[in-house]
């Protein structure tokens, strides 16, 4: 809905005329939708703004409170949760806030603004022998921890995940206050986000991101990790034929498949407990094929080749040795574990050229777009956050049966019904999701929606956990799940009411201050 002229002008005064627009063409480039949707275009924003710093963000938030208009901030805007929840929502596209504020090598943290993408941060860190967590969605997403929906990715085994990596944060609350968490508030330093006293980190993020529902996080510090690889990866060739000239010393790649999920879980546990892996990523072979295939045809051919070569579910392992002897030890232990758990290496990817390319692609996470969108897909069915890896796999095995039914009906692409899994923090916890690929037809969308609902119901009824909607936590979902989970919806709503009394921070991916009618 068009903003009243005076109101528009008030926002324009904040960001300048070049950085605000309500032209339909500008708006539609934000309202286009991918994924299982019946409509190509969703709700338009009332206007798009491009604030350049915290002060402008704060001023916009204050104006929103003044005029009773909602706002939604976004980083790269990939997530469907960065869409507006209604017609009177202003977008804050944080594109102009793109600085790495600090990389503190000795104390292993980095501070970023929302439009630094993970690859930028990682590339900068690698020059310093460091690395960061990158979400599975890919290095093209924001490195800012509040943008990621769940916050974990391929390197979770050694780089943990968002919720646990956050340090100090600068937060513009829905009322327009600037709250500086932890050492930032006390000292102006970024190294710690908790205290004094209770940690306000708790109200800013949980196992899922607030998806725009509780203000704007303008800067955040996040923990970083050691990197023993080269400062710049030796990638050669011209797109998309990229491959490294060599596998760096002390790096090792294998993809293993197992007779069944039981052996896979056991192997993962032993790898985690022996602390040997830099990355354990439970790609299914369709996803592996996407990582390798530089075109749809190649992707298809690899998949057809691999599905004949594997025993059952599997994962890829990347070892990174900090020294030659560290590397040798890790390799030896891995080989022993794989022998004991009856894993089999997928031979074609042992080829150093292919392995080299896969190492890099999986560390930088550049192929998730291929994995998901070449065949038109979406990640669906997951438990919120992390759980024991074995529990995650058990849930996936159950959901995979539903997926296989839809494959049989020809609604989903036949990828043998597999899911993907990965552990965090040397196997302490894990995460799993299922990728479904489909053609956009009204029937397929109905079936997919039905699948998602059934998978969520299964998570609740079978006590696996609170499901994680991958398109943001719509408010009514909280009211559905909450009664099964300590009535968390009631508590989260109270927080929302206290911190956003005017309900200006768009809650379409959070919880609304007022409970919707007809939802228990």
């Amino acid at each position: 809905m068009a903003l009243d002229k005076d109101i528009y002008r008030a926002f324009e005064d904040v960001v300048g005329p070049d950085n605000i627009s309500d032209d339909p063409a500008i708006l539609d480039s934000y309202s286009y939708r991918w994924g299982p949707q019946t409509e190509t275009f969703g709700q338009r924003f009332a206007a798009i703004t491009l604030p350049k710093d915290t002060a402008e963000v704060q001023a916009i938030v204050r104006l929103c409170n003044k005029y009773g208009i909602q706002f939604k901030a976004s980083s790269t805007g990939w997530g469907s949760m960065s869409n507006p929840g209604g017609p009177e929502v202003i977008k804050m596209d944080l594109r102009r806030m793109d600085r790495i504020i600090e990389i503190n090598e000795k104390n292993m943290y980095a501070v970023v603004e929302p439009y630094v993408i993970s690859v930028q941060l990682q590339a900068e860190l690698m020059k310093r022998g460091l690395n960061c967590n990158i979400i599975g969605a890919g290095g093209n997403c924001s490195a800012h921890p509040y943008a990621a929906h769940y916050g974990g990715g391929h390197m979770g085994e050694s780089t943990s995940l968002r919720e646990r990596n956050i340090l100090a944060v600068e937060w513009v609350t829905p009322e327009g206050e600037i709250v500086k968490l932890g050492s930032l508030g006390s000292l102006g330093e970024w190294f710690c986000g908790d205290g004094p006293g209770p940690s306000l980190r708790g109200i800013t993020v949980g196992h899922a991101a607030p998806c725009g529902g509780i203000g704007v996080f303008t800067k955040a510090a996040t923990k970083i990790y050691h990197w023993a690889g080269p400062p710049i990866f030796p990638i050669e060739g011209v797109s998309p034929q990229y491959a490294p000239s060599e596998i760096p010393p002390n790096f090792f790649y294998r993809y293993y498949s197992f007779p069944s999920a039981k052996e896979m879980v056991e192997a993962q546990r032993r790898i985690g407990e022996s602390e040997i892996a830099f990355e354990v990523m439970g790609f299914n072979i369709a996803m592996l094929a996407s990582n390798m295939g530089t075109s749809n045809d190649e992707d298809y051919a690899y998949f057809e080749q691999f599905r004949k070569l594997i025993q059952g579910p599997g994962f890829q392992v990347i070892l990174m040795g900090n020294s030659p002897q560290d590397f040798e030890y890790k390799k030896q232990v891995l080989e022993q574990i794989i022998r004991e758990t009856k894993g089999e290496s997928l031979k074609p990817v042992e080829d150093p050229k292919i392995a080299g390319a896969l190492i890099w692609r999986s560390i930088r996470i550049t192929a998730s777009i291929r994995e998901c969108f070449r065949a038109g897909g979406a990640f669906s069915a997951a438990l919120g956050g992390t759980h024991p890896y074995g529990e995650e796999v058990a849930y996936m095995e159950a959901v995979s049966k539903l997926k296989k039914d839809l494959i049989k009906k020809g609604i989903l692409r036949d990828d043998d019904g597999y899911y993907l899994t990965w552990p965090h923090e040397h196997g302490h916890l894990g995460h799993a999701e299922i990728l479904i690929q489909f053609r956009q037809t009204p029937e397929s969308i109905d079936a997919i929606m039905g699948f998602s609902e059934a998978a969520m119901k299964m998570a609740i009824d079978n006590r696996y956990g609170v499901p994680h909607s991958l398109s943001g936590m719509a408010p009514d979902m909280h009211d559905m799940f909450g009664p099964h989970a300590s009535n968390y919806n009631v508590w989260q709503r109270r927080l929302k009411q206290a911190f956003d009394p005017n309900e200006v921070s768009d809650s379409s991916g959070y919880i609304k201050g007022k409970q919707q009618q007809g939802v228990s």
Binding site: R164, D194, R201, G206, A208, H387, A485, S486
Partner: protein
Amino acid sequence: MIDEKKLAKIVGATNVSHNPATLEEYAGDMSFVKPIKPDYVVKPRNAKDIDKLVNLAKETLTPLVPVSSGAPHFRGDTIPGIGGAVIVDLSDMKRIIRVDRMNRVAMVEPGVTFEELIPAVEKEGLRLNMPLLPRKSKSVIGSMLEREPVVMPKYHWDISDPLACVEVIFGTGEMFRTGAAAGPGTIEEQWAVGASQKEAAGPAQVSWHRLIQGAQGTMGIVTWASLRCELLPSIEEPFLVGSSQLDKLLELVHWLTRLQLVNECFILNNINLAAIMAKKFPDDYQDIKDSLPPWTLFFNIAGYEYLPEKRISYQIKDTTDIAQRTGLEPVGAVSRVSALELLKAVQRPSKEPYWKLRYQGGCHDIFFITINDKLPGLISAMYDMADEAGYPASDMGIYLQPIVQGVNCHCEFNLFYDPENPSQSERVRKLATSTINNLMAKGAFFSRPYGESTDIIINRDAASVAALKKVKSILDPNHVMNPGKLCF
């Protein structure tokens, strides 16, 4: 004053006390916080009792002060902030609810101490990431709720570790379970499908455990908590590195933590190391102290199930290489202190009497979080201030604990003193508060403020205080939970 009968009805008459001697015990502690006598001390037996107590307090607007550990207390957080309070002493809730080897997690009630939990987890091949030599009576939950630093930075991924989930009765009288424990289903139903209440974050978009930690009981009372455990090593090889150059030791610590090579890892000055290792005071203590270099780094290398000897041997080589680069040499013993002996000591709670009290009978801790680069400046400032206050530098213990995998360092100044000596006590008391501003200016972040210095610390940032008050107004709108603490 609340009606004793009502309390007795909830916890049973034998678990309510208003015996003056008992009340006196809870009225004060070893800190400088002004004593205030509670009206009652109650000892709930289970979560139901707690639930009823909180609801009663809410109705009657009675302050509740939850206490999990046994005496002696040190920080004033369990001393009632106002009169008319009821102490909720949870130390009798001693159930070890579960130890889950596969998922490396344990679940305990608040009264369970380290001494009690260690053998239980060891039986399953697990171990705890402990604070440094907690006193014998220290509750595991108490320690985790206070975000106490732990001695194995490698397994301390997040500052909230090793806490996983909690069940809590908020000040509103409502029960809530945090993280994965929230639901769906009962805890037992969750176990049946392989769940283990280990994910701390959530449910959904809030991480409630973070609001309960560091709150000093001002939000609610925890009835159980689950915690991450680590594997018991099959072999270990500890080392000591003595030096007068702290910067070199810090450089070494940086690499040991960055490469995640070592398990236990911390630095003590000669005073603290002597205080821990001495068997006889004062002679033994003095001898050890005099024989030690100013700083000693302790670290421990471990092997687990797979090729443990091989792992230990290459890790020793790697650590030695790094140490040599910094001009240091890890050894098995520094003067009379053996690394193995220290390792054994720090894998258990402190022997009685508590190590901090052995030397002079009293100890006041000033502690904060910082980063390595700021430590030398902070330590030298502290020496100067101690000197100015007439506190002998030769009595000040220093403990440096890398935490959060080396991202932060917990720095603790232990001011040993004789509590029977009023002038010494007064000197320490003054020093404890007068140093805070100066230390903050030099990069000390007091993430856990206690006692008299709380206001100076917490009021530095009005926006955070306002936010905290909002949280408080949701979880404990009637201000019955430990009122008078922090900014509440």
